[in-house]
């Protein structure tokens, strides 16, 4: 209480600039007068009485100072004074200020960008109450994960056990017709239970009916809008509740608005409309995933009962897993021995929701965070060097002040204030830079042609992190110089014109440390770059960078499927005939796309042996597909016009040919559909007319699937409601314009939903590698710059500090060569020490990066040599200029200087 009262009195005095000095002076005068009188009474002469009174009182100035210190807040006063002084100093040497601020800003910027990404993707919880109680069900085979089927969801929901509720969720897109406009909007389908499980309170209206989507429950055409969509598209109009929307030509009633901040169950989701799961039957009337036991499309999450944890949930799931599989697939077609039996149902913490980005980027981001930390250390070291060389230039000033009575803490505070000012500007610059950088990185990891983009949330945590590392960096950079300044020895430092090798001494530590950090960063960057290059250089079975791929869902336009194949072909022929188009082809599934399907095929050799493969990738393509995509035909021929009718034919990938027809040419042989047993009803045979090179249809990162190509022109190929057309023209823009024009003419009801360049699809496949490569590459470049400037700075400062010594040695007969060799030996020793330390850490870092590398060993000696070569070249440049300066010292001038 008393402390507080006193504190406020002092703050008051400080703020009001109230000065108690006048009052004190009067009091002191009074005091002295009384003492003097008493002394006189005791028999002293007036002068003596005054002198004795003063002696007894003590040093008046000190009392006044103490009194002043007690009255106000001197440390704030000092701080303000230091700040003013620091700003003045920095204005006087703008070059120093700019380099310092820039160095810190780059380090802080990189750190905050990566942390912003890490926070948004990996660390952030769903914006719902008690996210720690949430769990998420997974369906995995090793590294690959797919969704759950609706049957699995139902089976899980029947056996709740440790959870108090479950919900299922699926993202999709739908056509919305409003005020004469057609738009594709991101939607999600979900069960009504989501409002209980996530404890979502609609901002307006009510949630979905909890029973919506249950088997037997009638489909209720109701929807909720996301808060953002309601604000932008409906201008926050409260009367939207009760209105009708036309979604996929269905009338749906808006029953509410989702709470602000909830845009989906993962960081990369931003849905506009939430619909009941049963809407799937509206989206896909003939083949609703809701009714297919083999469709694995749902994210399933639940909330644990109070007191339950993840481990009991996992144990419980292990106990019921077989029963759940049995319930979900009694015929054992997909699970329990079926195609998906290698996938296992699991459960994990659901705090962050479901995120493909997290799955893909959690590991790379951790690696980048580590590199970022090293980067920051390097930046701090450089700024420390900068500050030290500045402080050592001002040591006389500090020594002078120390001699005049400035306390160590005051000198310390002053240098620290100066670095803090640099740090503050660095923080501001870094935050701005980081924000921009984060957006560039987000673009890099976003899927081309799709609107789903990661939502960045620079919350308080990100701000605190950025501020924290800035303070850390400034303290790291300022502490040693500040200590040196505060220990300025008046006797020694005042006498010397140049200080006694402060920078040189610091260099003994900083050069090896910087070189070590540089070795680690450079080696990591080279490993990651080599990984990306390996992927790019490997033969993927495609040569189609400029091909534009376009997709449209014809089913959602109300197109009837009967004449679709014919119109699709018409579409293809019109595009092929359009001026400017060089090649065009239809395909059942876009290479490097999201989807995949597999089928059973077999062959029978003359000995009667069956060669069955149940994991064949069937691709239906029009006849120019191979030339369009740059997939070479190794033997036989490509499809031609005659294949549209007559014999059923196929083209095998090289691996398929080797599998089905080992040891002989596959040309002319027959491939059959089915698994060769009585179980399959289909026994169609396809004559092999060609063999194509293996192409990485699934992903540039994955080995080429065993593929079989069929002519899409045949009537018995079936109708594809989702058609993908690829075109190559003089420029991608011409290709896009051509396709758009013709598509809208032939399918007036359906909008082209996706348009992308094949090269972008490759880039997207490689986005993880590209992210790692470009960020670590940027770090390595920055690190090299910092090391080079650091070495340059230390050497030039050393040459300046030792100018006299060099002059004397030369006067005594030393050769220029000897001077330079001496300088080089010192530098080389320190660099070598750094390389040795760095090599150890680089080996460790390589080991940690192992899982992110491809085609290069984590401890590749080639990469180590490349690292050393680059480092040596850069450092040689940094050495040349100071060395030349040392060599050209004129002995007479140097000695005479003082």
């Amino acid at each position: 209480m008393r402390f507080l009262r006193r504190f406020f009195a002092r703050v008051g005095n400080f703020v009001m600039r109230r000065r108690a000095g006048e009052r004190l002076r009067e009091e002191v005068e009074e005091h002295l007068a009384m003492q003097m009188e008493e002394n006189i009474r005791a028999g002293m002469k007036p002068e003596e009485a005054r002198r004795q009174a003063l002696l007894k009182f003590g040093a008046v100035a000190r009392v006044v100072e103490e009194h002043h210190a007690e009255a106000g807040l001197p440390w704030i006063e000092n701080l303000l004074r230091d700040l003013r002084y620091a700003l003045r100093q920095l204005r006087r040497s703008p070059g120093y200020a700019v380099v310092g601020v820039l160095t810190l800003a780059l380090g802080i910027g990189a750190n905050s960008a990566i942390f912003l990404l890490t926070w948004s993707i990996v660390l952030k919880s769903l914006p719902v109450p008690h996210p720690g109680q949430l769990i998420r069900y997974t369906f995995r085979k090793g590294e690959s994960e797919i969704g759950l089927s609706y049957a699995l969801y139902q089976a899980l929901e029947k056996r709740e056990g440790v959870t108090s509720g479950l919900f299922a969720w699926s993202n999709s897109e739908a056509t919305l017709r409003r005020d004469g406009q057609i738009a594709k909007v991101p939607i999600a389908l979900t069960t009504g239970t989501i409002f209980d499980v996530l404890e979502l309170q609609p901002a307006m209206g009510r949630g979905l009916d909890p029973r919506a989507g249950e088997p037997g429950a009638a489909y209720q055409p109701e929807a909720l809008l996301s808060y953002g969509y309601w604000k932008t598209e409906f201008h926050g109009d409260p009367s939207v509740v009760g209105q009708s929307l036309n979604i996929e030509n269905n009338t749906v009633t808006v029953v509410g608005v989702l709470p602000q901040g909830f845009d989906g169950i993962g960081p990369e989701e931003k849905i506009d409309i939430l619909l009941p799961l049963s809407f799937e039957r509206v989206l896909h009337p003939t083949n609703a995933a809701l009714d297919m036991r083999g469709a694995f499309w749902l994210a399933v999450m639940g909330r644990l009962r109070p007191g339950e944890g993840l481990q009991p949930a996992q144990a419980y799931l292990a106990a019921i897993r077989n029963q759940v599989n049995e319930d979900a697939d009694p015929q054992h077609v997909f699970l329990n021995g079926g195609f998906f039996s290698s996938y296992e149902l699991g459960v994990e913490a659901g705090r962050g929701g479901r995120s493909w980005l997290r799955w893909k980027y959690a590991k790379p981001l951790v690696a980048l965070e580590a590199l970022c930390g090293l980067m920051m250390l390097l930046c701090s070291a450089n700024v420390a060097l900068l500050v030290v060389s500045r402080v050592s230039g001002r040591l006389r000033e500090f020594a002078m002040r120390s001699a005049l009575g400035a306390s160590r803490s005051r000198l310390l505070a002053q240098v620290l204030t100066e670095t803090a000012v640099i740090g503050l500007f660095g923080l501001i610059g870094g935050a701005l830079l980081g924000w921009q950088l984060a957006y560039v990185l987000v673009r890099m990891i976003s899927q081309p042609g799709f609107s789903v983009v990661l939502q960045l949330h620079a919350g308080l945590q990100v701000l605190l992190f950025t501020a924290g590392i800035s303070i850390g960096a400034a303290v790291l950079a300022g502490l040693w110089p500040a200590w040196r300044a505060s220990h300025a020895a008046p006797a020694a430092d005042l006498k010397q014109t140049t200080s006694g090798g402060t920078v040189n001494r610091l260099g003994r530590w900083i050069i090896p440390a910087q070189v070590a950090l540089g070795v680690v960063l450079l080696n990591a960057a080279l490993l990651l770059a080599s990984t990306l290059l390996t992927y790019l250089r490997e033969n993927s079975g495609f040569d189609a960078g400029d091909t534009v791929l376009t997709g449209a869902n014809l089913a959602d336009s109300g197109e009837t499927s009967k004449d679709l194949p014919a119109r699709d072909l018409d579409y293809l022929h019109q595009v092929e005939a359009a001026p400017g188009a060089r090649a065009a082809a239809l395909m059942s599934m876009a290479p490097l796309g999201d989807g995949f399907s597999v089928g059973n095929y077999y062959s029978r050799d003359p000995q009667g042996n069956l060669h069955v493969n149940e994991q064949i990738w069937p691709e239906y393509v029009s006849r120019n597909y191979f030339s369009l995509m740059g997939t070479r035909i190794l033997q036989g021929r490509s499809f031609n016009a005659a294949d549209a009718s007559g014999d059923s034919v196929c083209i095998l990938s090289a691996e398929a040919a080797a599998f089905f027809f080992p040891g002989k040419s596959a040309l002319g042989e027959i491939l059959n559909a089915g698994d060769g047993t009585e179980r399959t009803t289909e026994h169609r045979g396809f004559r092999v007319v060609g063999i194509a090179e293996d192409a990485r249809l699934a992903s540039i990162l994955d080995p080429a699937p065993v593929a079989v190509y069929f002519p899409i022109e045949r009537q018995d190929a079936g109708a594809f409601t989702y058609s993908t057309l690829g075109v190559r023209a003089a420029t991608p823009q011409i290709a896009v314009d051509t396709v758009r024009r013709i598509h809208s003419r032939i399918f007036p009801g359906a909008a082209l939903s996706h348009v992308w360049l094949f090269r972008d699809a490759i880039d997207y496949n490689l986005s993880r590698q590209r992210l790692l490569c470009s960020v670590s590459g940027g770090f390595a470049l920055l690190a090299l710059t910092l090391i080079a400037t650091g070495l340059y700075g230390i050497l030039s400062r050393t040459v300046t500090e030792r100018r006299r010594e060099i002059g004397i040695r030369m006067a005594l007969g030393a050769q220029r060569r000897q001077i330079v060799t001496g300088l080089a030996r010192t530098a080389a020793l320190r660099i070598a020490r750094g390389v040795c330390i760095g090599a150890g850490f680089a080996a460790m870092a390589g080991g940690l990066l192992r899982s992110l590398l491809y085609g290069v060993a984590p401890h590749s000696p080639w990469m180590a040599m490349a690292t050393l070569a680059v480092l040596a070249t850069v450092l040689a440049f940094a050495f040349v200029f100071p060395a030349r300066r040392a060599a050209t010292v004129q002995p007479m001038e140097a000695i005479r200087e003082e």
């Binding site: 009262r5 006193r6 009091e27 009194h67």
Partner: protein
């Protein structure tokens, strides 16, 4: 300073409070004289150091001050104990007495007493 006892600020503050309690309203010089007399010149109080302590006590609210006329009818600043100050003095006196009593007992104990 050798030969004289160093005074901690807290002790000085307690002396100021006690002085004001005994003498009532008093100016700075009077307080200094009183402390000097009682402590028998043993305490190395540079009289000036009293003033920062007075300021601190005033900011804490244990004493209050106003201008007034001295015995010789000169302008002087007078300090007096506030109610909070009196309470503070009481509690600190009690504490002090307890402490001295304990220390005294401690010193009074002889080795034989413990056997």
């Amino acid at each position: 300073m050798k030969g004289k006892t160093e005074v901690r600020q807290g002790t000085l503050a307690l002396m100021v409070l006690k002085t004001l309690d005994v003498l009532g309203r008093q100016h700075g010089y009077g307080i200094a004289r009183r402390i000097e007399q009682i402590s028998g010149d043993l305490l190395a109080v540079n009289q000036g150091t009293l003033y920062p302590v007075l300021l601190k006590l005033e900011q804490e609210g244990t004493i209050a001050s106003e201008w007034g006329a001295s015995e010789k009818n000169r302008r002087a600043r007078f300090y007096r104990l506030t109610r909070a100050g009196r309470k503070q003095l009481d509690s600190e006196t009690r504490e002090w007495e307890q402490t001295t009593a304990i220390i005294a007992r401690f010193f009074a104990v002889k080795v034989e007493d413990l056997l």
